[in-house]
Amino acid sequence: MDDLYREIILDHYRNPRNKGELENPTHTFQDDNPLCGDRIRIDLKVNGDGAIDQVRFNGEGCAISQASASMLTEMISGKTLEEAKALSKQDILDALGIQLGPVRIKCALLPLKVLKGAIYGLPATFDEEG
């Protein structure tokens, strides 16, 4: 019935992929969006070749943020860190495939922000100017 909640988004929301935590992650980060209470944690295990062997996300929040996190873990599984670094906001929005207003876009991009935080060890800043 609804573009915003396409079946694929509902599916990722209801059946999140790679949900949980890793025992000894090589990279981990967590952040939230206090405006709506979305919270995402991402753990990575990167092997000697710089490839992402394992990825898990955990968290709570709205369907958009949770589906976005679930989809993101699928996108980066087996990729190298360099490939993961190259992921852009637009890549995420394309994967979601929906139009989002200014509030919901923050939900959608929170997982990517957390991923970049895990990789760089710092919170990423998404300045909407860039």
Binding site: M1, L4, Y5, P34, C36, G37, C62, A63, I64, R104
Partner: protein, 408 residues
């Protein structure tokens, strides 16, 4: 109930469709819509007599000054202030509270004092006092709410010792809808030697409000939540308090005389209105007050009681709903916060938007309250004079749709 058919004709914004469905606007607690009378009063000002006020010796400016000051008198009457001099125009309720926090709080509160607020305060009546406490070393204490979503008056008494300088409370919670027993709060505060600041952002638009019978020392309100324009709000303060306070913002208009060495302040209320005021906004607020007075605030309240009664009844039948706030309509206003089991409030709001229904979702600028309730966010529907019972039916149907979509 009010005849919302007739009232709705005065609100052009309501006659539109969102996603092919007639708009149902249920977010008046965030900001109300504006009747034609308000829109036109401002339009006429800009088209026929805009000029800066107070110092002009020409007719446009004299007309503008008169309209601006008349608006002040209307506001004073609306809340039954003793004098128009007790009304200071501000941008919003937040600025009004900050004015008191800066010009009264930081001057009168010291490290040995206490400030009391309730657990259900909006950030606007919380963060300024956290800041005053942090800067002065005073203690900020919270009057707890009980399981009925009301203030625990016994706990209030226990907190209210002679160290308390200020009790800052909301007239009506913007989340729970709870109406506070303001007169009771004031009597006890005054007996303990404390002043009371009332955050009327939600109360003044929806309840008959008489500052003299409530005997509050300060009242802050938002014009834009009571049919007035954005950029309008006001502070009421008892005259002797306002007289004693130093100015807050300084510059033109608020002075009597300036020399190289310093300045003398203007009389009330101009002392607190620095620079060119929000003239069209005050005029618009005056028109809003006329509109509300025309309906009669008792009737406005009764209309919302009926809407709220019906909404509580219908909503309580929605599967998996949890409603936060008092059950009895006489103890509450028409802001109803709720959650649907397993659904994030953002998702609820987004689905409702697809159905043309505008509600709010989030923490509603009351994060500590949400923390206490153990939720990160709630959905909130809120009513005003232009809402009607059938809109509540639309809300309930759309909630069922949301439940089905996410449940399935």
């Amino acid at each position: 109930m009010l005849d919302s058919c007739i009232i709705r004709q005065d609100f052009p914004i309501l006659h539109q469709s969102i996603n092919g469905k007639p708009l149902v606007y249920l977010d008046s607690a965030a900001s109300s819509q504006k009747p034609l009378a308000v829109i036109q009063a401002m339009d006429e000002y800009y088209r026929s007599y805009h000029a800066n006020v107070h110092r002009g010796i020409y007719q446009l400016s004299e007309r503008a000054t008169e309209a601006y000051e008349q608006a002040r008198c209307k506001v004073a009457q609306f809340i039954n202030a003793d004098s128009w001099r007790e009304i200071v125009f501000t941008r919003n309720a937040t600025e009004a509270i900050n004015l008191v926090a800066y010009a009264w709080g930081r001057r009168n509160i010291t490290a040995k004092d206490k400030i009391l607020v309730t657990e259900m305060e909006h950030h606007a009546n919380l963060v300024p006092w956290q800041q005053v406490a942090a800067e002065t070393g005073a203690q900020l204490a919270y009057i707890p709410i009980d399981e009925r979503f009301c203030c625990d008056m016994g706990a209030y008494d226990a907190l209210l010792d002679e160290r308390v300088k200020l009790v800052a409370i909301t007239q009506m919670s913007n989340v729970l809808g709870t109406i506070l027993p303001v007169r009771e709060f004031v009597t006890r505060a005054h007996a303990a030697g404390a002043l009371v600041l009332l955050d009327g952002a939600q109360g003044v638009p929806h309840l008959p409000t008489d500052v003299q019978s409530l005997d509050v020392d300060f009242l802050a309100a938002s014009g834009h939540k009571m049919l007035g324009p954005t950029g309008s709000g006001f502070l009421y303060g008892k005259r002797h308090l306002l007289e004693q306070m130093p100015p807050f913002l300084t510059g033109g208009e608020m002075i009597r005389r300036v020399t190289w060495e310093g300045a003398e302040w203007n009389e009330l209320p101009h002392k607190f209105e620095a620079g060119t005021p929000s003239i069209a906004e005050a005029i618009g607020l005056g028109a809003a007050v006329d509109y509300l007075s025309g309906l009669g605030m008792e009737n406005v309240r009764q209309h919302e009681v009926e809407l709220t009664r019906y909404a509580l009844e219908r909503l309580s039948q929605v599967e998996g709903i949890c409603i936060y706030g008092p059950q009895q309509v006489d103890m509450r206003g028409g802001a109803i916060a709720f959650n649907l089991n397993g659904l994030h409030a953002h998702d609820v709001a987004a689905i409702l938007d697809r159905e043309g229904i505008a509600i709010r979702a989030g923490h509603h600028c009351a994060m500590p309250l949400h923390q206490k309730m153990g939720v990160m966010a709630t959905a909130r529907a809120s009513f005003y004079v232009y809402n009607e019972l059938t809109e509540i039916d639309r809300l309930v149907e759309a909630l069922d749709t949301a439940r089905r979509l996410f449940g399935g």
